[in-house]
Symmetry: C2
Subunit: 228 residues, 2 copies
């Protein structure tokens, strides 16, 4: 069956003329005062021994987001996390073996929510690497990471994205540090507090954090988050 306009219906295209479709994940966290991205080491050609984004092929019966969550769970053990579709990269030459179109997602995880990866990476084949400056990655994954960082920064202007990088309770200074790390610049403490106090997504939690020879800090919490 062919459309009246000469365009074949999808089912008429031989399956071998179809590209493969994958998802790739830019999983970001804050570690050592820097944005870090989760990478896996490739074991095979092409790009053997290079670092790459975690990802994998989309199964025929799962949605794109489900595929992304499956990869995330497999690599990090975390589920129920902030995940957003980023962009779809489909340059015909991005994989030298065959045509692979990849739908990129990005995820933000509090570093202490990823138990497996809290240890230093030694020579394991998965680990956190600084998101900047860009390092050479397999395929077009460097470009995908840049794109994710760009999106994250824009998004921070109008949504409480920093939320996802902190544990349930946190101090305002910790939140400010997250913002500073993402934006790559320092901010004024009073202005920062003025801006975010009054946001509807923030509320005081009970208790304080005392973690040093100084005044304890009031704890805060995000309203209506996972586990509420």
């Amino acid at each position: 069956m062919t459309g009246s306009d000469g365009i074949p219906a999808p089912g008429d295209v031989p399956a071998e003329d179809r590209p493969a479709v994958s998802v790739d994940l830019v999983v970001l966290t804050i570690l050592d005062g820097k944005l870090q991205v989760l990478l896996v080491r490739r074991r095979h050609e092409p790009f053997g021994d290079m670092w790459a984004l975690p990802g994998g092929l989309v199964r025929l019966d799962e949605s794109l987001e489900a595929a992304a969550r499956r990869q995330l769970l497999r690599k990090t053990g975390v589920s129920d996390i902030y995940l957003e579709q980023l962009y779809t990269f489909g340059d015909p030459d991005r994989d030298p073996r065959l045509r692979v179109i990849t739908v990129a997602y990005y995820a933000l995880v509090p570093v202490d929510a990823v138990p497996i990866l809290k240890t230093e990476r030694t020579e394991a084949d998965i680990g956190w690497w600084p998101a900047e400056p860009p390092m050479p990655l397999a395929f077009d994954h460097g470009e995908i990471v840049s794109y994710a960082l760009c999106r994250l920064r824009n998004k921070l202007d109008y949504t409480p994205v920093g939320i996802e990088l902190l544990p349930q309770c946190f101090t305002l200074s910790e939140l400010q540090r997250v913002y500073e790390i993402i934006m790559g610049r320092t901010m004024d403490k009073r202005n920062f507090r003025k801006k975010i106090r009054g946001k509807e997504w923030l509320e005081r939690a009970e208790g304080t954090r005392r973690d040093g020879p100084h005044r304890p800090a009031q704890l805060y919490r995000f309203v209506s988050r996972r586990s509420e």
Copy 2:
């Protein structure tokens, strides 16, 4: 060859286990004082006789954007137009026949740049339809159109998107009308002019437009656009 993590390399997946990949286009214009979207009438099941977004399968050797431009050229005869990737829709059930993942793009065209479509649609199988209120469309195309409108409105806040809907020379009133139509609300003439005058992407053109029993309007132009 199988990855050390048990994940098959893309080439190891039988081609028949791959989804089909298409692009769909949300081509928007302003016509009759409304945002209108270009639709084609389906001639076959499923969704026979319903209206749908123009689109088609991605060829193995072309990039996603190239596929989108090819479809755009085929349906409208226009090339060299503003085109942006929107989102990728991949619900397993979005096409009842087989798994089709579609990468949606949106495009903005000045209505008078689409010669074929300036006529009313009669009973042709392609034509402009008001983008709002939403009408029932084939597949998940209604959702895609909503998404495009949402994106367009957000984008208008910080980029001169309205550009793409106007001919090369235009009056400030015409530009304001574009903004009003996109945003769905009226704006104050003096404030509007204050805001956009001083934008670096706008410059006065020579001449005026006199098209009625009233004062002629100064023409403006966008800097560094196609044909410059």
